[in-house]
Symmetry: C2
Subunit: 211 residues, 2 copies
């Protein structure tokens, strides 16, 4: 069902489709036309048709989209039909926020452990998840088949630790450190740079001010 060569722009939009389809399902909606979905999501119906055409014949003329089918197909594409084991490296407030966010678990993203350098926090538990020392990380990754590491570390430590984690078998990084990680090919990095997001907000506020 998955075609290769789907543009990054479409991929960026997929989680939003997934969210709206999930809400439609919860509300008991069985099918929806591109026009209805367009109004709901505030994008053009032609964009919706174009985007969803990437995955092959989901829509049917005169019937619209089967909500559950589309939800499941996009979910499979996003890999949320599989389980992903995560560690959180850095157990500060942001790390704790991630460990506490049970909503990720619903999507199959399971935080298995947290790690920190600070001896004061090692041994503590956050929502039943133990904070361990960095010395334990290699074995933990192997035993628990960890795929993803969320890095909530100061940027000075992030690059070095990410490199070590690649050596230990981590293939995906959810990077909150304010740095661009340079890692070998085949390793996936998804950045969440909060201060850059805040600056974009500020830019847009400033631009509107100037008008």
């Amino acid at each position: 069902m998955v075609k290769n060569g789907i543009s990054t722009a479409v991929i960026k939009r997929l989680p939003r489709y997934y969210r709206y389809l999930g809400e439609l399902m919860e509300a008991g909606t069985e099918r929806i036309s591109s026009n209805e979905l367009s109004k709901l999501m505030n994008v053009t119906a032609s964009q919706i048709r174009q985007d969803l055409n990437n995955f092959g014949g989901f829509g049917q003329q005169g019937y619209g989209y089967n909500v559950e089918f589309l939800y499941n197909e996009i979910g499979r594409l996003l890999g949320v039909d599989r389980r992903h084991n995560i560690i959180v490296v850095g157990s500060g407030h942001l790390g704790q926020a991630i460990a506490n966010y049970a909503n990720f678990e619903r999507r199959g993203f399971i935080v298995k452990g947290m790690f920190d350098r600070n001896p004061d926090v090692i041994g503590k538990e956050i929502r039943g998840i133990k904070v361990m020392s960095m010395e334990e990380i290699e074995e933990f990754i192997r035993i628990n088949k960890i795929e993803i590491a969320a890095l909530t570390l100061p940027k000075q430590q992030a690059a070095e630790i990410a490199e070590r984690l690649v050596g230990f078998g981590i293939r995906g990084f959810w990077n909150f450190a304010h740095i661009d990680l340079e890692l070998p090919k085949g390793i996936v990095v998804e950045n969440v740079h909060l201060s850059e997001s805040l600056m974009r907000l500020s830019y847009n506020l400033t631009t509107i001010n100037d008008k």
Copy 2:
């Protein structure tokens, strides 16, 4: 110096330029060519020239870019030369992470207060920032000239509270709630949808797996 009609793609990249230029300045670099900047940032030199041309003659043939000048100009554009007063609505782990992130303050984003519905947390202090009740929010916004609200709330509450806050004078929303806010024209919303980011990571991991 600001031209109108700068594309969103360029704007999205500006905070990254700002970050690299800041690091160059800290390292004492006074000027840099587009080629050097290109290697550092891992984008093409022609993209850099195109992007920075949007702001008019920053670069000079044979000289390159004056790092400090460019840093300050982009900073002004991003509005980080001004002070932005922020409130955090929702004092859970994510709200606390935002309140604790002193790095935002360096850029002029000052968290003045936190608000919550939960009586158990009202009155507590996070890094010297008091958690107040929702009844106090209107007056607080007015007295403290609050411009931006960070929403770290369950999605069920976010829409209703955002609307109220617009009425109280908030013009910018840093929205962590997993919902698209529909607000009047002129109100700026910057979304940070963590679970969508995690799904993009998972998508990319899945795609690489399939290869």
